[in-house]
Symmetry: C2
């Protein structure tokens, strides 16, 4: 097991073994089926320790998958302010994370989500239960049409990440973030609040 | 080597060995570096036979990658008719291919493009030289801003394919094609001809 920092070796080992146990348990049971209790048993630790290190199951999942971001945090950041500019803010926050040090982890994550059937299935479940369902009320969307709106916006964001950071299609890959915010933001906004 | 049909076993074997040689040569030399002549040598056949079976190098590449579609054909189909509805037509043709029998091959292709570094690199080169550059004049776009417009549209299309067919995010995955044509078409149109 590679140790990333020299600090707190004991804690770091515990943390890593929880993450390993989480990956195995999520792979085996799916997102809903993998309880903190099951993960704790697999890691040989007390469930309280998992809560102490990671907080919620959602946060543990994102840490285990080495996600550079919590999509719900991005949604919350975008939701604050003028509702007519949610799309603009969403794209801006999203790009700031991917253009930053988290981008490399993002590429690895995206490769992993797409690469194998079990990671795809696991993320499908996570996106549905943890991201889309929570995004609809947070963005103040109608319950009936909100899910389609949010999944359309997600299709644009995942495509943008794939084209810019994984496939690196030029000139998209080198375009300044604000060029893309201005180009993509209004399209995301239309998905969320426009006439479809 | 699995034989797909019982017809013309000799030709089928030749075809398959050309495709195998093409895959190896593209992987080794990249899209530009892999000439028909090199592929013919690797397959132990005459270059004329490759042209006979596959036509151009572009078509050979798409066959070797088991692509369900030639993106340039989709662009050409979308380009014909009212320029204000290119986006609508593009999404409609694109979905009709992915919703049809080619969809399974499309999913495999997308997994493969994203899955490994060499396929990503190969497709990056192919998309740049064969798709984006040819799309700009075919869609009647300005030479300077056309490439960004086309790559933005591509980001939406690849994201749509990923969300609908690979990750299968609901309700996007089960939405009727025409619902998505109406939702996504205008966004693609804006990328191509709108104010960015």
């Amino acid at each position: 097991m590679a140790r990333r920092t020299g600090r707190r070796p004991g804690n770091q080992d515990t943390r890593e073994s929880i993450l390993d146990a989480a990956r195995r348990t999520f792979a085996e049971k799916g997102y809903d089926g993998a309880s903190i209790r099951l993960i704790a048993t697999a890691a040989g630790v007390d469930p309280a320790l998992i809560h102490h290190y990671f907080g919620t199951k959602e946060k543990l999942f994102l840490a285990a998958m080495e996600s550079p971001m919590d999509p719900v945090d991005v949604i919350d950041a975008a939701a604050e302010g003028d509702p007519a500019e949610i799309g603009i803010r969403f794209v801006r926050v999203f790009l700031s994370i991917w253009d930053g040090p988290g981008g490399t982890a993002g590429v690895a994550l995206l490769r992993s989500v797409v690469g194998t059937e079990w990671t795809t299935r696991l993320f499908r479940e996570f996106i549905l239960t943890q991201v889309l369902r929570r995004a609809v009320p947070r963005l103040g969307l109608d319950e009936a049409e909100g899910p389609l709106r949010v999944s359309l916006a997600a299709s644009q964001m995942v495509g943008l990440a794939l084209a810019r950071y994984v496939i690196k299609v030029e000139p998209l890959a080198s375009a300044p973030a604000e060029t893309l915010v201005a180009a993509v933001g209004p399209n995301v906004q239309r998905y969320l609040t426009g006439a479809l």
